[in-house]
Symmetry: C2
Subunit: 235 residues, 2 copies
């Protein structure tokens, strides 16, 4: 029997119309799918309903990523794929499997020789990098810095050294309530000519993507609210 396909299904980042950030083609691909591997069931259902008010949510099956690092749910998802059913992967926001644990189910699909097809959609990392004006020909996504000292300062200083040595852009995310903290860490540890890009509310009504030197940021400090934010260090 032919195997199913694992479709990577991006969703909105901010509270926008789907037509602002998703190609119309995605709807045609998603409509026949009845099995979903998701980060949060509630978010996935909301997206499907927004995409198509008639979407048969009650006839669909949702497998939620287990929060306790027990990925037994993967077995059921892979079973559907090997049985010939298509599965959609949906994360909590934006592009699945990048900056979220969704890549683990994709890895399992690849191990089983299942076809994986990525659809087009918004990625705050990619859009922040492109709009930052920082080096787009060499860059690293570091995820989160360690929360505790001295690991946090040590790791940040190591990465600042990489920027100086390689000129690769260094991308970070932070939980929104800690945006102020990471920004102050940059101010504290980076040399004054190093550049920091702050990218917040990507695709949303308050979208702001500003790149300045540490010296300039010191003159005009930034007021964060609790919006999801991408930070980039570079030259």
């Amino acid at each position: 029997m032919a195997r199913g396909t694992l479709f990577i299904i991006p969703i909105t980042i901010a509270d926008t119309e789907l037509s602002q950030v998703l190609p119309s083609h995605n709807t045609e691909v998603i409509k026949p799918i009845r099995f979903f591997a998701v980060e949060k069931i509630k978010t996935a259902r909301q997206f499907l309903r927004k995409m198509d008010r008639e979407f048969p949510i009650d006839d669909s099956t949702f497998y939620e990523q287990d929060k306790h690092d027990d990925y037994s749910y993967q077995k059921e998802v892979i079973r559907h794929l090997l049985d010939g059913q298509d599965v959609g992967l949906i994360s909590e926001s934006g592009y699945p499997a990048v900056a979220d644990p969704g890549y683990l189910i994709v890895a399992e699909a690849q191990r089983n020789g299942v076809k994986v097809v990525p659809l087009v959609g918004p990625s705050s990392l990619l859009m922040a990098l492109a709009a930052s004006g920082m080096n787009g020909q060499g860059f690293t996504f570091n995820g989160y810095l360690p929360v505790k000292e001295p690991d946090r300062s040590k790791q940040l200083q190591f990465i600042i050294g990489l920027v100086q040595k390689t000129s690769f852009s260094q991308i970070f995310i932070e939980t929104p309530y800690r945006n102020e903290v990471i920004f102050k860490d940059f101010i504290k540890h980076c040399p004054s000519d190093m550049k920091v890009c702050v990218a917040l509310d990507i695709t949303g009504p308050n979208e702001t993507i500003v790149t300045q030197s540490i010296a300039d940021w010191k003159k005009n400090p930034f007021r964060f609210d609790k919006t999801p934010c991408v930070f980039i260090l570079g030259v």
Copy 2:
């Protein structure tokens, strides 16, 4: 006078309908723009005509990135932005300013305090990474390996060491006629349990995104044609 906005305008990667890979919203944003900073004028014109057969190409101005590293064209683009005119940035394929020199004009816009707005569209790097099943929570884009030995082997061995030490995914591109060469380099230098993702013709009719260990690739060698390809090393 209010400044213009620099819009980052992604285009298709493969020969597909625009509705497959671009949100319909992009067309509304692009239609009023009459100034474009582009990697190749021909590609940009073709895209605009495909988007809107009535697009006033002859009333639009195109600034082509200078191939000789003399970025004097940037001055004219920035002048338009400071004069209050919007400018669109278009690369030769896919997402501008990521894996192409377009980021230099974005940097100049940021230095001049110009607003930069990224639209949504396809990025072969991002889509390859998501579909590879490799670590999406830490990754580096390395661009091209050095062409000449011994630099090439030395750099590749350094990056293989990073994969083993950090488990960050390592992304590469190569000019299509050298796809075989870089793949053989991976086979030669990587330990047999390291994974290689080969992602070719992303969004196109022959899209193939396969992740296997070096040991498995040795059993089933890959036949490349001259298609643009993204390569990822990981665990």
